[in-house]
Symmetry: C2
Subunit: 196 residues, 2 copies
């Protein structure tokens, strides 16, 4: 299945290790392809995030809804990213988040218990997990720094630098929410940044 080829390439590239034929069979046996249409939910608030998904195609947003009914986007996710509420996934607690497909979405999904097995038995998989953990730590540190020390305009410029794909793939109001801004404010920032 061509779905899995991209997945295998990704694992091998990021881990720097090769997958054996056996490894590949094991992964194919326990990652299930799942398709969601735009607007469908991968996870709903209150449910346990039983599955982690590797995005083969499409995009999604992870968001909360506050008491005033306002949505706040914590993550925007694209191809070759992992999709889950990790807190709920690791601890098996009810999630505070919703995860919704923003475009038609194809993922390969598996459970926490299965992931533990891959970590034990597939060296490339566990090397990948370590590499991802490093990347996430670095990305989180950068984003947190931006959140506490940058102005709205600087955060937007930072996003353009780090995730230029987002501008192509996501509507501006989603990007505003991801940056912690109102859509109006982002619109004004874009207008003013011409002047600089």
């Amino acid at each position: 299945m061509s779905n899995f080829e991209a997945f295998f390439d990704y694992i091998q590239e990021i881990s720097g290790k090769l997958l054996s034929a056996n490894d590949k069979h094991l992964l194919m046996a326990h990652f299930k392809p799942k398709k969601l249409r735009k607007r469908q939910y991968f996870l709903q608030e209150g449910d346990v995030c039983k599955y982690i998904g590797f995005i083969v195609k499409g995009s999604a947003r992870t968001f909360t809804v506050d008491e005033k009914g306002h949505e706040h986007i914590l993550k925007l996710s694209l191809e070759n990213w992992w999709l889950a509420d990790f807190e709920s996934f690791y601890l098996l607690t009810p999630s505070r988040f919703n995860i919704e497909a923003l475009e038609d979405l194809e993922v390969l999904q598996s459970t926490n218990a299965q992931i533990e097995e891959f970590l034990k038995h597939v060296p490339a998989f566990s090397a990948m997990a370590n590499a991802i953990s490093q990347n996430y730590t670095i990305a989180n540190q950068k984003r947190m720094q931006a959140a506490i020390s940058y102005t709205a305009e600087e955060r937007y410029e930072d996003l353009i630098r780090n995730y230029p794909q987002f501008l192509q793939r996501f509507p501006q109001n989603m990007i505003a929410s991801y940056l912690g801004l109102s859509p109006e404010t982002l619109s004004r920032i874009k207008k003013n940044s011409f002047k600089h």
Copy 2:
């Protein structure tokens, strides 16, 4: 050395595995005790973060200085936490951060190359690394959500709930900076929160 006992206990508790006598000798051979007095720097902006430190005693802050000379605290760290700029430590790039002792500080420190060895040869150590990675991911997700969707007052309440020790150990202006607030604003928030 009593320093190491606390360290070993920590590793065993968080990993759920025991350290052999051999493991302990290996750790003691390659983690060097280091003491810093209050105000001394564990890391300076521009330097590569060669060492990761396990805090045995004391506290530290990780912060940046922006173009206007304002300091922004990204992390506050206490006993049994790991101290490093992980981006610089993993990638061996010059750090954008400073790490300064806020109280007299005792750490056990080691290099990235050594850590790799421990991960390979000490099962409890690598299990600990995986557990920490999960905890960090969860904590980062929470803090990021707070940053984009909470008001200043809600972020402060969140801090009281999650890290009550901070109020005892750190001056209020440090906490304000950690929350991304001016000291004056935090002072006013405290005054007003009596009214609610």
